[in-house]
Point group: C2
DNA sequence: GTGAAAGCGCTAACAG
DNA sequence: CTGTTAGCGCTTTCAC
């Protein structure tokens, strides 16, 4: 680590420590001449200000945090998260702010993590995977840690918020399916305690009227498969299934085909999140892309403003696009597979 | 933020600051009685030690860093990275160590990032996406920042290293293809300056003997598509293509089918990395799973040891498994799709 | 415009 | 076993 400190640079440049500090931060007028001397000295000694000393003096860590309480395995198969993080980073990098990622196994660890973050490690936090009456909301309010909620949180809260309208694409898909003649349309949701799963399920219920064909999954392939089996075993089995993410949809699609059903002739299928491979499946999967990177950018910008003392505000990032593909009867975009043996 | 400091807790408990500090760290014997008093006081005041003050005094940030120089878009479609990070986190969480993620646009920013990390932000770094004669290796050595190389780096270096054997699965796939009667086997590699792409390409060359059917891609779907087109346009077009990742393989597969080729009858295809959807494609894609989480765990453990002063060592994590699926002629694992109209 | 000195909140000698 | 006293390296009044 750097044994050279601001004092060494000050000595080398023949000025006071304060001058070195201000020459770099620009927090007070410095003559061009001294500034040049200071920069030269810093360059010569290869000095970089210590982040920890600066954090202590400034009461600012120059870092923000994302804490995930999910199972590592779930994180690994999630297409939303990496894109979201990439968006966040693109904003943070403008201001030399670091992103701290913490994965915790249980609520206890999560509370400790937030406490320690709030006390000198991070200047703010991004909250994902919101649940109804999420305990983290009042908790972080108490901790007085600037926070941005990512998702359509309904409860009372003092924070900035990035929302999307997940109901509209669900309505569009259902309308499309009805046009195609479907009457028994099912929905495999994510855990209903998550606000985004619930919003999607609610849009489905509003459209369909009852919950006889609604099944609550957990976003894993296993649940997608199991609930598809359950739905297909019904006496009046659905002719179309909307899944709340692509992982469940693909598992369901795969199961249905294994049962001898043809997609979309016997069963139409749609997903959500538009995994980068979904367009390449056969049949290609109808899904909803939601530009997670745009949401990441918006969240990072809101948080930066909050940290600087701005008033919290809610931003609606509307970037949901339905991609109608073969799995719901859209015409094939790639040529049909004709068996042809070349010499 | 916490206005309550160690001094408040000391006063509340009627002891000295040092006692409070040691009661928590256990760095010197404390009577059960005082410790209880201290803990009670800390609890009552809701005090948590300030990470930044601690970092400054300890000269330890309790954080490690991963810096990515990739395009955010590439990160978003990469199945290796999130799983790797999940593995890293599972080890870090044991010791309250944070992970700092930084995405930088260019080399200049990357140097600054490492400098600032080395100076108080992080105690060590994980190096991914290694290239031949990677400038970061001597640079970090200079910075004196404990580092673990993730990948089979050949140049001289003083660091710990996590390697895998990527050649074996390539050999296995080629052997399998030859058994199936293939003679013209092509390879679409990643950028050959990356050590892992090169290792795979080298294994291919060693097996096949010449580079007439080798094409250098960049891991994106676009390059997979373009190079597939190029290979299929050859007078003696290949009957099998090995891709260096699944994204390129799927794009290639999709292109080939659009050209009217049947997979695997006309063209056999294999990928690498086993994206979580690859098993669900039709035809399912032959690929190599490499347990990125295991590599993440190994890297984090090595780095932790290095930070504590252990001697650097190289660990081979051998977890590559070839999954032979339909795209190379393995029997279908899901039942065939029989068109059947239900009432 | 610049310097000197007082913290930021914690840890670690050093005494007792 | 516990209290006192210096720092860690930077920022920021407060003087000049």
């Amino acid at each position: 680590m750097s044994r050279t400190t601001i004092a060494d640079v000050a000595r080398e440049a023949g000025v006071a420590k304060a001058t070195v500090s201000h020459a770099l931060s620009g927090n007070r007028p410095i003559s061009e001449e001294t500034r040049a001397k200071v920069l030269a000295a810093a360059e010569k000694l290869g000095w970089v200000p210590s982040q920890s000393a600066r954090a202590l003096a400034n009461r600012r860590a120059n870092a923000i945090a994302v804490v995930l309480a999910r199972d590592p395995e779930v994180i690994a198969n999630d297409s939303f998260f990496p894109a979201f993080i990439a968006g966040v980073e693109s904003v943070l990098s403008e201001t030399e702010t670091a992103l701290i990622l913490q994965v915790v196994p249980d609520r206890d660890a999560e509370e400790r993590a937030y406490r320690s973050l709030a006390h000198g490690r991070a200047d703010g936090a991004l909250l994902l995977d919101l649940r109804d009456d999420d305990w983290r909301v009042p908790f972080l309010d108490d901790l007085d840690l600037p926070t941005v909620l990512v998702g359509a949180y309904d409860g009372p809260h003092p924070f900035s918020c990035v929302r999307t309208d997940d109901a509209a694409p669900i309505r569009d898909i259902i309308a499309h399916l009805r046009d195609e003649g479907h009457e028994r349309i099912a929905h495999v949701s994510g855990p209903l305690s998550y606000v985004h799963s619930r919003a999607r399920a609610q849009a489905y219920l509003d459209e369909v009227g009852d919950d006889r064909l609604l099944r609550e999954g957990d976003f894993t392939a296993a649940s997608g498969r199991a609930l598809t089996a359950e739905l297909l075993a019904l006496p009046d089995r659905p002719t179309a299934i909307l899944y709340s993410n692509d992982t469940m949809a693909i598992a369901g699609l795969s199961y249905a085909r294994a049962q001898g059903l043809s997609i979309p002739a016997d069963l139409a299928i749609s997903g959500f999140d538009d995994d980068h491979l979904s367009a390449h499946l056969t049949p290609a999967l109808t899904s909803v892309s939601s530009d997670p990177a745009a949401r990441g950018r918006a969240a990072a910008r809101l948080l930066r403003a909050d940290i600087l003392g701005a008033d919290p505000r809610t931003e609606v990032v509307d970037c949901n696009i339905v991609h109608f593909r073969e799995s719901t009867g859209a015409p094939q975009t790639t040529a049909p597979t004709v068996s042809r043996r070349t010499p």
